[in-house]
Structures are given as C-alpha cells and as structure tokens.
C-alpha cells in the first residue's frame, strides 16, 4: 500500500467532499502562499485573490494531486503561475495606459530622477527586486523569502536546475549593481555662504 503523506490524507478527504480538510490545508499553507504572492505582485488585493484561487484549485484538482508527497511544491507552482498571469495582465494594462498618457501629454516623459532616493534600505531593496524581470524576481523570492532549494525552485518553475541557478545568479548580479548604485554616497551639496563684515 502506497505511503500517504499527511497532506495527502487531507487531500483524500477533500476528494470525499470534506471541506474541513480544505480549511486545514489553508491554515497550514496560507501564509506561505499569501506571502509569496504578495512579494511577487506587491499588491495585497491580488495576493488575496491568488490565495483563494490557489486553494480553489486544490479543491478542484484534488483527484489529480499526488497523495504521497507534501503539497507545498504543488501549491508554490500554482501560486507562481497565478502571479505570472496577474503580472502579465498588469503589464499589458500598464503599457496601454502609458501609451495613452504619452499621446495625451505633449512633453516626453523622462525616467524618474532619484528613483533610488528612497529613504530606507528595505524600500530600496524592494524596488530593486520589483524591477527585475519576472523570471529572476520569482527565483529571488523563492530562494530568499521562501528558503527553497534550487532543486525545489526548478520543480516549481518546471525548468532544469541549471536554469534556476542561472536566473538566481543574474538576478543577484542585477540587484548588486542597482543597490551598489543606490547606496553610493551622494556628493555633498555645495553651500553658498556669505559673510557680512561690518
């Protein structure tokens, strides 16, 4: 008889239409799913939607889930896919909105100066992570926030371990460059002083 993981026992109960088992899985994994979605999307409402959608998928696909392994990797995979869908839609919406603004506003837009002039370090790091391409951002978040191994990340992203490793490397390099630049000491302002000798 195959060994059933404790998550698998709950999934088996969901198959029997026992919703308290879905509640138990939610209690166990809600923060992992929510925080991953929040870190990727930076949008609380989107993270809540993704959280609900991910567990509704557990409910809907309970018959296809392997009962012998922990549910976490499967849930992470669903969370990342849902976050990707959300990010893609946002990007399309943002692009069309920016196009519209470009047409409406005559002067050309310039890159915001002092983007990295955020006062606190966490904000700088968060902005640097947000600026990464989606694939690198997800690997950085799964590795540093969720503390997953490269092998687990590769499973979640359905890619070879080498690909996950390379995305982590390029993501780190991009972050290092951006952060080093943002943490450069600013040139001290030249004060114009005048003295009145009377």
């Amino acid at each position: 008889m195959p060994v059933v993981h404790e998550d698998g026992q709950l999934v088996a109960r969901i198959r029997e239409r026992d919703l308290s088992a879905l509640g138990a899985l939610y209690d166990k994994y809600r923060l992992q799913v929510f925080h991953t979605a929040l870190a990727v999307t930076r949008d609380r409402q989107a993270a809540e939607d993704i959280l609900q959608e991910a567990f509704l998928k557990v409910h809907a696909y309970a018959n296809r889930i392997d009962l012998g392994v922990p549910l976490a990797p499967w849930l992470y995979r669903v969370t990342v896919n849902l976050s990707y869908t959300w990010a893609t839609r946002q990007a399309k919406w943002r692009t069309s909105l920016e196009t519209l603004i470009d047409r409406l506003v005559a002067p050309p837009r310039v890159a915001p100066e002092g983007y990295f002039e955020a006062r606190d370090l966490q904000t700088r790091i968060q902005r640097a992570v947000d600026a990464l391409p989606f694939n690198q951002r997800v690997v950085i978040i799964l590795y540093y926030l969720s503390d997953l191994s490269l092998k687990e990340i590769a499973y979640i992203l359905d890619c070879p371990v080498g690909t996950a490793k390379s995305r982590l490397h390029y993501g780190r390099e991009a972050l290092r460059r951006q952060l080093a630049q943002s943490l450069e000491p600013q040139a001290a302002p030249v004060l114009e002083m005048s003295y009145d000798f009377t």
Binding site: Y26, E48, Q52, L121, Y144, P185
Partner: protein
C-alpha cells in the same frame, strides 16, 4: 550614510540583505480575516452545484437537445413533427 553604515552588497552580504528585506516586507501582512470563510463558501458553492472547474455549466449533449426537441414536437402535431424531422435531417446533412 557613512561607509561603516553602508550595507554590504558584496558576496554573502547581499543574500543577508535580501533575506531580511523580503521577509520584513511581508511579515506583518496577513490575509484578511474573512478570507478563509470566503474560500470555504466558494468551495461549498462549487461542490453543491457540482460544476466542473472553473465555471463551465454542464450542458446536455447536442444530440440530447435535438432528441428532446423532436420528441416534444411530435407529441404536439405528428404532421408538423414529420416535416420538422425532415428539415432536421437535411440540416444535419448540410452540417
């Protein structure tokens, strides 16, 4: 920010910075109190309605619809049903 206060983004220093910043960024934020209840309610609704995921209404097969329609018409008027039947066969051949 002096050089002593400036965070170390070289080597493992970057990893520590990222780990701390990412975890601090989400730690205090939790799903809303009603999220669990909303999930279970949505799951119960889907379960009750026995809808295939995500929202596809289980429709009778096209052939069943045809058969039901033909049967209902036949009880109303045999002649009309016969004519209709011929038209339906013709339609099927065209399709």
């Amino acid at each position: 920010m002096t050089s002593r206060e400036r965070p170390n983004v070289a080597g493992d220093g970057l990893g520590d910075l990222l780990r701390t910043a990412l975890k601090d960024g989400v730690r205090a934020v939790t799903p809303s109190a009603g999220a669990r209840e909303a999930l279970l309610r949505a799951a119960a609704e889907r379960q009750r309605a026995a809808l295939p995921y995500p929202f596809e209404q289980a429709r009778p097969r096209r052939d069943d619809e045809w058969r039901q329609w033909e049967g209902r018409t036949a009880t109303e008027s045999p002649t009309a049903a016969l004519l209709l039947h011929a038209r339906l066969i013709a339609l099927r051949i065209v399709q």
